[in-house]
Amino acid sequence: MHKVWAVIRREFVERVRTKWFWVSAILGPVLFAGIIVYQIVQSMGGAVRDVAVVDNTSDKLGKQVVEALEASGSFRATLVPVGPGVINSLVIDSLSNLVESKRLNGFLIIRDDLVQTGRAEYQASNLGMQTIETLQRTLGKLVVKVRLEQKGVNPGVVDWAQIRVALDQKKISHGKAVSDSATQSFFTAYLMAILLFMAILLYGVNVMSSVLEEKTTRIIEVLVSSIRPFQLMLGKILGAGAVSFFQFVIWGVSARVLLSLRGPIARALGADPAQIQTMSLPHIPGATLAVFIAFFLGGFLLYSAMFAAVGAMSSNEQEARQAQQPVTYLLMISYLSILGLTNDPSSTFARTLSLVPFTTPIATPVRWTAGSMPMWELVTSLVILAVAIIGVTWIAARIYRVGILMTGKRPTMKELVRWVRTA
């Protein structure tokens, strides 16, 4: 056991010492910080904007528009009465100059057809989604009001009749309704699938190149004369697994820290911290996290055993790149199915994928997160995965044992079968 431990430690320490480990360790939090800042800036997009309202209507609708915009709380509006008819291009030019010199965010031009056909024009240096939406909603409400009044409806009734419906979304998960939205669980499931795919592929390939290094430097001979090949393979896989786990821990902890720092970051950017705190975040319950970790570890063990065998049967980088393709394709199947899985997590397709050992490491966590998956199905997938790990590791260890001492031509399928039989 001491020897396996030595192999694990070497694998871990040497990987963690590389530049690439730290680059990706830092890249994760940087990306996350970027998302937070982006969200804050987005929410600041809802801050008060200076606009001019060019009133070109015959019945002086401009005043009401200005009032409505001011009432929405998102705009500071100035009325520019131009009178009916053709708009003076001089006015447009001078307003454009104001926008250009940043003294104005934009200007709205309303004509008589606002009420008649529901058209208006907005020119601005920056057409933010939120701004446009607020403008449309405010103008829409006003037009409805004016049109109803023209038909003789009491303005008080009109005001009373206008109401916004807020849809409170809840997801039924394992018999309980949890506060969650469809986009959120979709997002979480999608993110998880990509993380799983990347981590399994990246660290599986790490195991492969590490096996290959020992083979090409011929140090393998010394190792095999003191460590059993299976111990060596096991140590390698566990070592690389520990590295990826460490990577995840770094990302997780830094994400947590960044989240708790959202308030100060928002203040530093001049946004309202109270508003930031209500920002929606994917909520990941403990059970989901446990499923994620279990299937990540399972998937990693399954695939890295295969990658170890691939490394052992190749004698240089090019050969390994070719030989790894079948394994990568196997992993790609589940990656390409993510959309299908998230759209309908209980379809026969999704169920099948979570029962096939090579796709279950990604399919099952996605199904679990995206929608309800019965407990017994989850347990079944786990059992299937565990059995597959034992079987695949057994075969891989036999290929590994023979392969690591072979040089020269890559083995054919027939030879591989013989290795497994006789090793």
Binding site: A6, E14, T217, I219, V222, V224, S225, I227, R228, L405
Partner: protein, 321 residues
């Protein structure tokens, strides 16, 4: 333990050919034992079977009295493979500590020992450097340290001198001799007879996977009898070539240019040759009655062997003339 290594009729076949064919040998404790043979004779395969890297198809390997290969005893055996290699991106000290740990040495003990050896072989300043920063000779030294770091009772070296410069060669030889002095056993393979002749207490010559001869150096030389004369010239060789070609006097000759090793024909007298040479006007730097050199024995045994090919069944010691 009187015989740390006993190889009993082991055979190893690879697709198409037999690398080692029913080979038996035993290495007594406290000696330097040479496994000699031309390239492709099966030396490396034999050592790999002893080290548990290959499993014999038949026959057994016993180490320290127990059936089974080197892995069981890795703490007591140091092994230097023919194809050298270290982790190029690791630090020198880390590599040494890891390889010692693989043999079951504790981390702390390995560290102390590694630093000690690096100091002894003049690499103390390099212990934090990457292996790839070292010169080839330095890497060889590091590899050698990794072989003996755990102070094994048995050291197995596969072609230890190949690729070494004279200085490092000497360092290695000194260490090997020192090892024997401390009562340890050394088994090494080589195809360079000069090394074997200087170092070996016992030896075994193999070719085509079979043993041709084994025994102590003296035994091998005496059973491989024949009277030998070494002649060296100082310029003028007179009619030497004619005299050497006389089959009544010389049975066989190895010509090294300014020096030749002669095997006398049965019944021939060395004095006759000396007289003939002097009469022919040759200027002699050396005329010495000698036992045959290992090199000569080796070529005699292996040369025709290689020539007659496997088809004839590799007639054992074809030229014991």
């Amino acid at each position: 333990m009187s015989e740390p290594v006993i190889v009993d009729r082991v055979t190893k076949r690879f697709a198409g050919h037999t690398a080692v064919d029913a080979l038996s040998l035993s290495v007594p404790s406290g000696l330097i034992y040479g496994l000699l043979g031309p390239n492709g004779a099966g030396k490396t395969t034999t050592l790999r079977m002893i080290m548990d890297i290959y499993e014999p198809d038949s026959g057994t390997v016993r180490l320290f009295g127990q059936v089974g290969g080197g892995r069981m005893h890795s703490a007591r055996i140091g092994y230097l493979p023919e194809e050298r290699g270290l982790y190029p991106r690791m630090r020198v000290l880390d590599v040494l500590v890891f390889l010692a740990e693989a043999k079951g040495v504790s981390r702390r003990a390995a560290r102390v020992k590694a630093l000690e050896w690096l100091q002894r072989l003049g690499l103390a300043d390099w212990h934090m450097r990457k292996v790839s920063d070292l010169s080839k000779g330095m890497q060889q030294k590091v590899q050698f340290i990794s072989t003996i770091l755990h102070d094994p009772d048995l050291v197995i070296l596969d072609e230890p001198f190949s690729g070494l410069d004279p200085v490092n060669s000497q360092v290695l030889r000194d260490t090997v001799v020192d090892y024997r002095r401390r009562g340890k056993t050394v088994l090494f393979s080589t195809h360079i007879m000069e090394h074997a002749e200087k170092l070996c207490d016992r030896l075994c010559i193999i070719a085509r996977g079979r043993k041709l001869i084994d025994g102590t150096l003296a035994e091998v030389k005496s059973t491989h009898g024949g009277k030998h004369v070494i002649v060296a010239f100082d310029g003028n060789q007179g009619k030497a070539q004619q005299i050497f070609a006389d089959r009544r006097l010389v049975a066989k000759m190895q010509d090294f240019g300014q020096q030749a090793e002669l095997e006398l024909a049965p019944g021939a007298d060395a004095q006759e040759i000396l007289k003939a040479l002097v009469d022919s006007g040759a200027r002699l730097a050396r005329f010495e009655l000698a036992s045959p050199s290992l090199h000569k024995i080796f070529v005699d045994l292996v040369g025709p062997e290689a020539a007659t090919a496997a088809a004839t069944g590799a007639g054992n010691g074809g030229s014991r003339a």
